[in-house]
Amino acid sequence: MIRVQREDFDPGAEMAALTRDRHDIGGVACFVGLVRDMAGDRPIRAMTLEHYPGMTEKKLGEIEAEAHRRWPLQASLMIHRFGRLDPGDRIVLVVTASAHRQAALESCQFLIDWLKTEAPFWKLEETPEGGEWVSARDSDESAKKRWL
């Protein structure tokens, strides 16, 4: 399941909903991304996430389908927020559920690694000097390449 939304989400409630009345799930892995108050040595007052409506949902759906091809998953959920967020706010949630832990843990990391290089989102950080668009990091690209 994919959700792209402005509103916050409750990771515990989302995880509980995903596994409710399911007796075939033995392990659930969860990743939550949060807004930091520092970018390197620069303080961040807030951040605004922009995305490409339509393509975002399409890419997230493709990434999720790829995870289900690679691992025996019983269920999965990705939520990504957009709009203005404060330090400490949740940005992204990835939940994967499988019969055993290995598939859940590996696919969770795969999904967040791929999301970071494939899903059309951009971060604008509010620093004391003004708004600054975040540059893509080479480390994100190499994190994705591990899964090729």
Partner: protein
């Protein structure tokens, strides 16, 4: 052709979308980027470093040699930074 610009590109170009009819000699994504870069300083600044230009045609990533059709939706944007 519907053009969409996101993030830094939208800020530099000064708009998020526009309808344009490129000349007939613009046949590929790379040709479109070259043509757009000559439309003004904002376009030129946004598209100056081609290694930092990502293009999606009809919401799929494509390379610069991808052919274009008149009614394509073409989005140009910097490398993504979500997650």
């Amino acid at each position: 052709m519907k053009l969409l610009y996101f993030a830094l590109f939208r800020a530099r170009i000064g708009r998020g979308e526009e309808e344009l009819a490129p000349p007939a000699e613009v046949k590929t994504v790379g040709g479109l980027v070259d043509w757009l870069a000559q439309r003004g300083p904002g376009y030129r600044a946004a598209l100056a470093d081609r290694r930092l230009v990502r293009v999606a045609v009809n919401q799929d990533y494509v390379d610069f040699d991808h052919p274009l059709a008149a009614n394509d939706e073409v989005a140009l944007f910097p490398p993504v930074t979500g997650g």
